[in-house]
Point group: C3
């Protein structure tokens, strides 16, 4: 593998083997599960003790639940007896997680409560569901599969996002809609696609209609902020920022480079001139969220890690989960969130809410799958990245360094 | 592999790799095919010379037929010319097995009878269908894939079952129904599931309604025959045995431990108090079989090998075939047998006949597939077996020893 | 692999591993793509500049098109940017091939014409679509995947076929029909099947009804031309040849042995006594092609390579493409060609045109798939080839030698 990678140059796409080799995928997944925090869902999915949902990645199934103390907990969905899936429903409520095979029962802290006919000396306390590290930030539930003492620090992972999330009430939202987009492509191609907007004008007409053109040109691109052509855009941004700040709304941005442990980024930017939210016509599609008294048309984008992103608008938010399943198979899941008291049918229409990103994610599925097909053929050569694909260059370098391949 | 297994302890389930590795499966299959006798069907399926059925396991297809001398024969279903499947129908009658590719024709002894345009010196007698070892016991047709001289001795394989089969007429039965249950699980998980009734109360309500509860508690369990709580049960069993023996019906049991070449077991036990046969209400569902003059409610269970089991009731029998197909794919097939002169519609109803085990095998398919899913995930750890899973502990040890892994 | 092959003897089918091993398939494909010319289609599919069709083999997708100078060109269908499939339609017309991902645009010579926002120093001329070697013979478009300088000489590849194609107008034909037959078998079994007519009497009743019986007996068979039984047949052939030559029509034949680089063969022979073309009743099913003034009932068969064959009758031709997809997966494609001015419905009926070979290829799919199933089982042994399978013996030897396995 190192031989393959030795020919790689910064600023080009990765060697084909990294997108098609089953061995590389297995090692990727092992590294990802242990080193990264994976966004799984929102606390509104489990408001009460015993509420749960399942999260699946690779061959893993995770029970995410809330215990009697109100803490969010996550466990491997595998019985400590002979390994059966313990919980078969995708979501619901349980007082105990009782295995459908032999009725071993685990409480909401994963402790084994009942296991009949066990031999003398059997220690229930040593046979609880194996825990998975959990962190909650602004209502977002993250998991990490490292051994507990090796878990990356969750505060370090989230702290830079806090100022940009201030006042927007993400923690108080509720799920309004969700949809999955099974994609026949390696997870790194899904990430590459999300990290540049160079393809937007070709592939995403609706998205381009909604967002400010100059902003999209600057997304993930070489810094052109000194470019005289950008003067008007800079002026507009500065004015918008001043207005937002006057309202007490957050502004700002940061973006990691390849030396980061997580490859994080965030910013708060306006959708487009005159747009109040990320909808087809820029008009609100749900009630204001959080502490916001009025629309400012801003959107907080948080890339917690290459596989976990959230976009927060004034009236709704969208969670994006990129879930590696197999070498050439990634599940993309989107979850739309609205204010907690918004009523479906009255305050928002799920189809309208979903329209833009549903359209865009379907387009992304197609282009990413065609990317995979080409990468798997002999005609593929790692290609030179454009000035609008800086984040892909950095992501590639970050990936190779984290994996110890360069 | 030995490294993986070195952490295994008796009394726990096996390491995950043994259930998910393709290499382990290939080696398992090679070992099984050569060392074990596989139950394939019943002689009533091929009453006359030229009658045949196909048996499939892994990538193998076997022609099971009867020659003019009335002997049961089995052959690899692969032409000695260029390898085509010779017989494409699953069952039927042939005077000659003629390959659909080039019409090479084989007689019922597998001898090549016709092969046109062959070069001088071609020896027909050296180009018969490759034989597979066959044994018939009580009408049950077994095959083994070892070279003829390496075939395990069939008499040794069957002799201990004879006394328990006495008088029940299994050899004279006929097939009344059959059904397959394709199961996405490794063959060893299918066997594990069949070797314990610890899961019955959770997963098999119908089965538990039919069978005596104390008997199920004792199935594959630590010996508790001295336990005072079992006194009533022992008394009932003793009375039932005395009655059965008075009628001239067989009783008794044996069970191999991990040192056995075949891991065999058999017993004859009553279904439940007041039950005449293994039906939902304990009432007969077909005419008495064999020499039986009256019902005694007994059931002879014969585990010829972990993959080949037969249950013989007074009025019907059920054959269970567990057929490894791929690493995580096993076909379970059930064949229901009744007395030879029983008439469908008049003497038995196939749906009623099948009801209990069809229900139970569908449940088994579900729990075994959920077991496989969990075993394939990182949350699986070999778990401590209960006092009611002694046969799983023994089976695991037997498997590891036979495979040379411990 | 060499160990496996060391047991192989000339005149027998190949060891199973060569038909079932994924590693062997990968190496086969690598060798085939570089050393062989693959027939992909006919120039009538791309009459004008910008017309194109896609050709797929293994994981490869090839754009076959015509440039402004009228030259046929072929390119890897993978963008030089990040590898996406550039062209998604199977056939059509393009002025530029514009990638659906980021709109990189390539002209009909594969030159990169547009790529926005590329960094300084980016060299468009070094980022054209990767070319694939192309050769055109009698309207047939062949491709080869070697580096340009390593491409096998196309003139050498085709020159011996020219005399047998003379006057038949294949270059001027047009596509009348096409159909694919996805076949679950290794490509070598598909070739084996096509290289002998020993199976015809068993498997192809329609084909045998059409063709002269003695001719089929001689196809790919041991030379029996001195056999007194063949005297009548020889006399008929000699008379037919004299008539054909009197008309100025070509006759003759050649066949390579295992020392050939391509394993080529060709001949021109009569269909059958009284038959004018290869139709069910021997009667014409389309207008005469090329310079032919009248029917002579001849058929030119050209095996350009084991995977690329053409049959040219007086009134229509059939192209056969055998396309390796995966270890046990080969796509067989047939393309029927007729005179350029023949009108569908008036001059020919596609169903009638296709009938014989559609019937025959469906039969071939079945027998080849059953061959693969048998070869993959333990009952397979390389078998002795008949006197009518000389070309299979030679093909096997040729394959093993070309692959460096003997």
């Amino acid at each position: 593998m190192k031989d393959t990678v030795s020919t790689w140059a910064y600023g080009t796409s990765l060697p084909a083997e990294l997108y098609v080799s089953e061995e590389v995928f297995r090692d990727d997944l092992d590294w990802l599960l242990k080193s990264q925090w994976f966004l799984t869902g929102h606390i509104s999915q489990i408001p009460n003790a015993g509420d749960f949902f399942l999260y699946a990645i690779g061959n893993e199934s995770v029970i995410v639940t809330r215990n009697k103390e109100g803490e969010v907990k996550a466990f491997h969905n595998a019985c400590r007896h002979r390994g059966s899936r313990v919980c078969l429903e995708n979501e619901g409520y349980k007082r105990l997680f009782t295995c459908p095979y032999h009725s071993w029962s685990y409480d909401l802290d994963g402790q084994l409560r009942a296991a009949a006919s066990m031999p003398e000396g059997f220690d229930k306390s040593a046979n609880g569901l194996l825990p998975i590290n959990v962190g909650v930030f602004e209502g977002l539930i993250f998991v990490n599969f490292a051994a507990e003492m090796d878990a990356p620090d969750f505060t370090t992972f989230t702290q830079r996002f806090a100022p940009l999330m201030h006042g927007q009430g993400l923690a108080q939202t509720k799920v309004a809609a969700r949809k999955t987009y099974p994609t026949n492509a390696n997870w790194k191609l899904v990430v590459d696609n999300f990290f540049e907007c160079y393809h937007c004008s070709t592939a995403h007409p609706s998205y381009c209609q909604v967002h400010d053109k100059m902003k999209l040109l600057a997304f993930g691109a070489v810094d052109r902020s000194d470019d005289p052509e950008m003067a008007d855009h800079r002026k507009w941004l500065a004015e918008w920022e001043a207005e937002a700040e006057a309202k007490g709304y957050p502004t700002g941005m940061f973006h990691d480079d390849a030396t980061s442990a997580y490859f994080q980024a965030a910013n708060r930017l306006p959708i487009a001139k005159g747009a109040l939210t990320e909808s087809m016509d820029g008009q609100p599609i749900a009630p204001l969220m959080g502490d916001l008294a009025e629309f400012d048309g801003g959107q907080t984008g948080c890339v917690f890690s290459p596989l976990s992103t959230v976009l927060v608008n004034n009236d709704h938010a969208v969670i994006f989960l990129f879930i590696p399943k197999d070498t050439q198979e990634t599940t993309v899941e989107a979850i739309w969130l609205v204010a907690p008291d918004a009523e479906e049918g009255t305050d928002y229409d799920p189809q309208t809410l979903m329209h833009l990103w549903d359209t865009t994610l379907k387009e992304d599925k197609t282009i990413t799958e065609n990317n995979q097909l080409g990468v798997a053929s002999r005609g593929y050569r790692p290609g030179v990245l454009s000035d609008r694909e800086v984040w892909i260059a950095e992501f590639g370098k970050w990936y190779l360094e984290q994996r110890g391949l360069i």
